[in-house]
């Protein structure tokens, strides 16, 4: 029946076409008119002072974030604590909006309908886009107006979100990449369980001893395994103290080119592809959860991942094996850089928000940065505390003692010199660039192209995106 009716359609009718033309014209007019709202005007310089909240009754603000599971509960606890302390003055409603990528897409939609939240958590690679969108007011404006003391906040973390000394957003859930390894497997293989590998060649040497095969020649345990994650490439680039994109890593001027196809990055991919080919490493693909599961199930002995997964790793390995951590590996022993902090930061929206709402959002941000709240956030989630004072808090110290693996991350951060390379690349289309880089990494690992060719292709694929973005930003 369905088929019969479809058949009926193909007996064309001129009358039908004419009517369609009428509707089409009508619709064309409509769509031309509904261009939607343009990007809002640039934010005004002045931040609202504290007194705008006096006598304004209850100010309600919405907060979009990408935390789910345990971090979500911890965040909600902090929100509740803030709301209780500000009864009748400020009420924050926190809403989980999906993962970071989805959050960005939803935010763009919200700009169109003029329904942005007062405060939004945006991932690191969305930083340039947030600045360019013209929707937000820089944190620096509030810091200057209030003469807020930032000496308690880690400069290495603030560095990512600052351009020319001006802080745009407040880092909140910060993570760093580190090396995880299975101490039990190390001991079984005759390696010192307290000496993790520090360079690619050391990883390979250890992996050769750690790869275990069974009677039929199938690999039971792989020496190394990590998700094919574009973030790792950014980290390796920073470790070699090189810039990922040009123009001072996008910080002196808008970046025009991605530089991910240099000799050291090619060396990295050659190493990685060879490891997989030689059966020393497993390729679990691009989904980070799969890479994590491989380590958690004991099938992979050395893994690189974020500090954020430490809690999950410890829970999964309980009673099965001991976990050790080490610094994020260098490509060559002589590399003098360090990893970039990752995660997300908080942005205060100005466009279409009253001064009261902006001020309320700032009060909440200040609350989150207090050492005791940072301690709570850190010990509940494993995210890196932005506040230096938090690390000196006894509760925090006790937690770090119980989870000595975390000390690695603290030391790593403190030992990294802050410069444009370690500050990270700021690029409007960074999310897509990260994807293209990932694709290039995947091609190299799968042996579909030589590492040089694969990375060159990634850079070439990035160029039109960057050009289009810069063109669009110029108002074209």
């Amino acid at each position: 029946m369905y088929s019969q009716q479809l058949h009926g359609q193909f007996q064309g009718s001129p009358v039908r076409l004419r009517a369609f033309g009428l509707i089409a014209t009508f619709a064309l007019v409509l769509s031309a008119c509904s261009g939607g709202s343009g990007a809002a005007a640039a934010p005004s310089a002045g931040a609202p002072a504290a007194n705008v909240l006096n006598g304004s009754g209850l100010v309600k603000i919405s907060f979009w974030h990408a935390m789910n599971g345990t971090p979500d509960k911890a965040l909600q606890a902090l929100v509740d604590k803030f709301n209780a302390a500000n009864q009748g003055k400020i009420q924050v409603t926190a809403n989980y909006q999906g993962n970071y990528d989805d959050n960005l897409a939803k935010y763009k939609a919200a700009i169109q309908s003029k329904q942005t939240p007062s405060l939004i958590m945006m991932y690191d690679v969305g930083t340039r886009l947030m600045i360019d969108s013209g929707q937000t007011i820089p944190m620096q404006a509030f810091i200057d107006a209030d003469k807020f003391d930032v000496s308690d906040l880690q400069p290495n973390i603030l560095g990512y979100y600052s351009i020319g000394g001006k802080l745009y957003s407040m880092p909140f859930n910060t993570s760093m990449p580190i090396l995880y390894y299975n101490k039990t497997a190390f001991a079984k293989a005759g390696l010192d369980p307290n000496t993790p590998p520090t360079t690619l060649s050391e990883i390979r040497a250890d992996a050769e001893k750690l790869t275990v095969k069974d009677a039929s020649g199938n690999v039971v345990q792989y020496g190394f395994g990590a998700a094919i994650y574009g973030w790792f490439m950014e980290q390796f680039t920073a470790v070699t103290n090189q810039e990922y994109c040009d123009n001072g890593n996008g910080r002196t001027a808008a970046a025009a080119k991605v530089l991910v196809n240099g000799p050291e990055q090619v060396q990295l991919m050659t190493w990685w592809a060879q490891m997989v080919k030689d059966g020393l490493a497993v390729n679990t693909g691009r989904i980070t959860a799969d890479g994590q599961n491989a380590f958690k199930s004991g099938r992979v002995a050395i893994n690189i991942e974020s500090t954020g997964v430490l809690g999950g790793y410890l829970q999964a390995a309980q009673g099965k094996f001991d976990i050790g951590t080490g610094f994020y590996p260098k490509i060559q022993a002589s590399d003098a850089g360090g990893p970039i902090i990752g995660g997300a930061s908080l942005w205060i929206d100005q466009a279409n928000h009253s001064p009261q709402e902006q001020r309320a959002a700032w009060e909440f941000v200040k609350f989150l940065m207090q050492p005791e709240n940072q301690t709570y956030w850190h010990t509940q989630t494993g995210y890196f505390p932005v506040s230096k004072g938090a690390l000196n808090d006894p509760t925090d110290k006790a937690w770090v003692q119980k989870n000595p693996q975390f000390t690695t991350a603290i030391t790593q951060l403190q030992q990294t010199k802050l410069d444009p390379a370690t500050q990270g690349c700021l690029l409007g289309v960074m999310p897509q660039v990260r994807q293209n880089t990932e694709l290039g990494m995947e091609k190299a690992i799968l042996g579909q192209a030589t590492p040089q060719a694969a990375l060159d292709a990634a850079v070439a694929a990035d160029q039109p995106l960057i050009d289009q973005y810069n063109q669009a930003k110029a108002g074209n």
Partner: protein, 283 residues
């Protein structure tokens, strides 16, 4: 054994068709049913059984905690409700708009009937994905993202449903209709009190079709919902999978909870579903 199969099998295999039949069927059943078996089994497995290598086929002990974990990760109850609300609204709306339109096409003098009819037809030819971006933008501009309206508005009418019902309405005897009108029956009364009760099979068919279609939608709800509280069960289950890095067991438990209604429908209501699916199918 009788029927067309016997004729074929006896011809092809000769002596023992029945045994071979059972054998082949059993082998195929194992293949087809295995994912379903593992779904149930996995939902009862703890991490030691399922997130390990090599994983086991049978759960050791009942790890019912998985079902509780599902509710910790996603608001399953709320998402079920969302799916039910969305599918019900769409079904009722489609039944209403399609009945009205089919009535007009079948019984009334419609000026330029072929034109309108053609327009209804043409909506069936447009794949939803080809217009999903503008529809998303419409919702975004209207500020309707993350609302029931966004989930339901685009689907309140159906070209296919109008056809199905028109086909069925056309079989309604003309003389009965004339009689009703001579008795002074108006259009709506005729529709509500005479036509609809007699057209239950077709309406039920459209209802089942519309409900199942709306229930299993994925792309559109993915785009227009943001918070877990507003998502449908289809989206919620996939989020369970992507966000849960530790626990395939809970993922399987979530799927079990999500498909229990339709599973019951297939097992117990197979005949009814068959009838619903093809009222109007080639006959």
């Amino acid at each position: 054994m009788s029927g067309p199969l016997r004729a074929i099998l006896v011809g092809a295999f000769g002596a023992l068709p029945r045994a071979i039949l059972y054998l082949v069927l059993a082998a195929l059943v194992v293949g087809i049913v295995f994912p379903i078996y593992y779904m149930f089994a996995g939902s009862l497995m703890g991490p030691a059984d399922i997130n390990t290598f090599p994983p086991s086929l049978v759960p050791h002990g009942l790890h019912l905690q998985n079902y509780q974990t599902v509710f910790d990760i996603i608001p399953l109850g709320q998402q079920y409700l969302n799916s039910i609300i969305m599918a019900s609204v769409i079904t009722i709306a489609q039944l209403t708009t399609a009945t009205l339109a089919a009535y007009a096409f079948a019984f009334l003098r419609v000026p330029r009937k072929r034109l309108w009819f053609g327009l209804f037809l043409s909506t069936m030819m447009v794949p939803w994905e080809a217009i999903i971006i503008p529809n998303y933008l419409t919702m975004a501009e209207a500020g309707l993202i993350n609302t029931y309206l966004a989930l339901t508005l685009p689907f309140l009418a159906t070209g296919f449903g109008t056809f199905l019902l028109r086909q069925s309405f056309l079989t309604f005897p003309q003389d009965l209709r004339d009689a009703a009108f001579i008795d002074g029956c108006g259009h709506l009364r005729f529709l509500a009190q005479i036509l609809v009760p007699l057209q239950r099979p077709a309406l039920a068919a459209l209802g089942v079709f519309a409900f199942l279609g709306a229930w299993s939608q994925y792309f559109w709800p993915l785009l227009v919902t943001q918070s877990p509280q507003m998502q449908t069960i289809q989206i919620g289950i996939s989020q369970l999978k992507s966000e849960d890095t530790n626990d395939p067991g809970s993922v399987m438990a979530g799927v079990v909870l999500a498909i229990l209604p339709t599973l019951a429908l297939v097992v117990f209501g197979q005949r009814f579903v068959v009838r619903g699916l093809f009222a109007g199918a080639v006959k």
